[in-house]
Amino acid sequence: MAEIILEAQNVSKAFGITQAVNKVSLTFNKGEIRGLIGENGSGKSTFVSMLCGIYPLDEGKFILEGKELNIKNQVEANLNGISIIVQEMGTLSGLTVAENIFLGHESKFVQYGIKNTAAMNREAERLLNEYGFYHINATSMVDHYTFEDRKLIEVVKATYFNPKILVIDETTTALSQHGREELYKHMKRIKEEGNTVIFISHDLSEVIEHCDTISVLRDGELIDTVKSSEVTEDDLKLLMVGRELGSKYYRTDYGEPISHEVVLSVENVSIPGQIENISFNLHKGEILGFGGLSDCGMHELGKAIFGAVYNREGQVMLADGTNIDSIPVAIKNNMAYTSKDRDNESLVSNETIRNNICLPSVSDLAERGMLWSKKLKQFAEKFANMMSVRMANIDQFVFELSGGNKQKVVLARWLGKDSDIIILDSPTRGIDVKVKADIYALMDDLRRKGKSIIMISEEIQELLGMSDRIIIMKDGKISAEFMRDPELSEEDLIKTMI
């Protein structure tokens, strides 16, 4: 029997009426990598947030090496040997890499009240080299680095002091294959040093491959803890959802011809310094996938097509010759866009679900210039229900919803607008299997109705599974194009990305 390092006893947390975590008791052994999985809103993030002192506990306690933990913030958590790599950006802009790594621990370098910055930089540089991140410079501002590099900086920050417990919350979705490998390497190192990793991810194959044991949460409750060597992805899905998922996850059809009718033509679109001379046509009823590394320019291209980039060059034309050069023009012509940055761009977070759904359609909803709240409510409820958004009521604020539910609100608003050309940037980013399946089913349905979809995605499986056509971008240019084909493999695509 392995030695227990951390024990959670009856840990509970409620937000308002929502019981996010309900009496969860778990033990973690020394030297194991523990996967923590569950749908969106199942309480994974809340659970680890309590462990790291980000949220106070309502009930229950954490016991680390026989002592009850009483920590109030992440710095205290670090001092107790617990660190976390968070889902979103965890580095602070405007600070150097070294300052970020030692954030909260500057006192190590303080002598007689004066911080020895040179010593701190030297130490950071040493750590970065030790980790093999030679391309990152300790004295540079973190702002100079890509999202992925900033995540690597966080890896250093969270692991350099050999924490007893390392929590990795849904980090890998932001990383490329290379970044992931780096992360796995350090997970393994920490494990071998006799410490424990708690690994949260929606990517079940990754969880099975890299974890020793897996705990499953559903609706805030612990369902089971299983050995990863004894389960399959389908077993885990069943545990997470509580019912058998239909076999239909991605589209199953192959060989359907694409319509010849062009609904949107993109001609020589460039954004100085980001993308160069992109041209393609979008056909009626087609799902056109865009793939590539996260900085290949595909996200910018999505924005540019929607008229959201002010220094765009080239033309985006509808079939009737309308040039799309601003967001209002795009929306007026039934184009829709969901951003990778869901909280800031896809939604108005500090607004109600009702207004978020109605906002793009307000002109259509007005009767002689007047908007009646009853009508707005009915409209919003209709489409929220169509997307089965889990909410207290339609006037709930969007920031209170989980990631998957937020995305449903985003889709509900564009369904409400009855958009014909839909640009989906990372539509399933950070979203659990059940909602993912819902979104894929919706996309398939829209396609059959003759709507055209541009899907920009960093998930290769999703591109292969859903697209009629896949365009791969590299360094701001189109590098390859593939037609839908059951024989097409991940490797084929990856080769053209790098």
Partner: protein, 328 residues
């Protein structure tokens, strides 16, 4: 600007120690402003031996309400989108001068010119705020000084007097009618039109609003123009009350507006939680407080001290820590 996660941490930490822990999440906060209004009436009734609820006191209080309440309407819109307008006092001053000059020729023309003057100043504010991306509080502090300077120039030799006969409009029903007209029009626009819903959306999340098809820059420009125009209209009520305009006419109006709105429960960073009644209740609370303190015979510095303390307490109680950012 902090990164989201850290912001979230800070939010969590702050929430732990905030007053909002002692109140239910919804409900009570919305009731606070009306309760505050009742409380302040009761308190001053007791302190002044009911003098404050006598007819002549009420008349006096009301006479101060009109201009402030109308000016609040425009700033209400500016602050809903997350901006602020410190140039309101100068707008009132300059528009009042224009109204006074033109009152010798034609009253409707004078009113119109007052509105146009206000709108022009608002356009200057909006232009610099939007085109040069300068935070609105900086732009409007600049224009506050700029147009106050113009006021001083026009009143160097002597105050600018309006035509004597203009005071015949200084009757309660006209002032009430004009105030109610402005309020009703703004209420309808704010609650039942696309304009209103998009204002709130901009305040709640500018980027999100932009990606929903809102013409954010145009809207921001327009609210400043409207805020100027509305206060330019209030200048007419100001002129019929005071008759002649001095260099300091309207000064401090901006702070009065700010305090009144906040006392009325206005969330200082704007957004989805603003309510139209904030204007009405806030203005009433402010004017009653103002007059009550005068009636109690406090020196003006003590009055300011008390108002300052109340303002800070109310902001501390009501500010929305979640948005993390205050005024753009």
């Amino acid at each position: 600007m902090l990164e989201p996660t850290l912001q979230e941490d800070i939010k969590q930490k702050e929430d732990k120690h905030s007053f909002s822990d002692f109140m239910p999440k919804y409900g009570i906060n919305a009731l606070l402003p009306p309760l505050g209004l009742i409380a302040i009436i009761v308190i001053f009734s007791i302190l002044t031996n009911m003098r404050i609820v006598e007819a002549n006191s009420i008349n006096l209080i009301l006479s101060q309400v009109y201009v402030l309440m109308i000016a609040c309407v425009g700033v209400f819109m500016v602050m809903t989108v997350g901006g602020i307008d410190f140039s309101q006092g100068s707008i009132l001053g300059l528009s009042s001068i224009v109204v006074s000059y033109l009152s010798f020729y034609n009253i409707p023309l004078a009113i119109l010119a007052g509105i146009v003057t206000g709108a022009c100043i608002g356009a200057v504010n909006g232009f610099f705020h939007v085109k040069f991306r300068i935070p609105s509080f900086i732009v409007t502090i600049c224009t506050m000084y700029l147009f106050r300077g113009l006021c001083a120039y026009f009143t160097t030799d002597s105050p600018v007097a309006a035509v004597i006969s203009i005071t015949k409009y200084n009757v309660t029903w006209i002032k009430v009618l004009l105030t109610v007209l402005v309020l009703v029009a703004a209420y309808i626009v704010f609650n039942f039109t696309k304009f209103g819903i998009t204002l709130k959306a901009i305040g709640a999340g500018e980027k999100g609003a932009l990606f929903s098809g809102v013409r954010v820059e145009l809207m921001k420009f327009l609210v400043f123009v409207i805020a100027g125009a509305i206060t330019g209209f209030a200048a007419f009520l100001n002129v019929i009350k005071v008759g002649s305009i001095t260099a300091t006419a309207g000064s401090q109006l901006e702070t009065q507006i700010l305090i009144a709105l906040v006392l009325g429960g206005f969330p200082i960073s704007g957004g989805a939680k603003v309510r139209f009644y904030n204007i009405i209740i806030g203005t009433l609370i402010y004017c009653i407080l103002n007059n009550g303190l005068v009636m109690l015979g406090y020196d003006s510095y003590v009055q300011q001290l008390i108002k300052g303390i109340i303002f800070v307490i109310v902001v501390a109680l009501t500010i929305d820590r979640r948005t993390g950012q205050v005024i753009k």
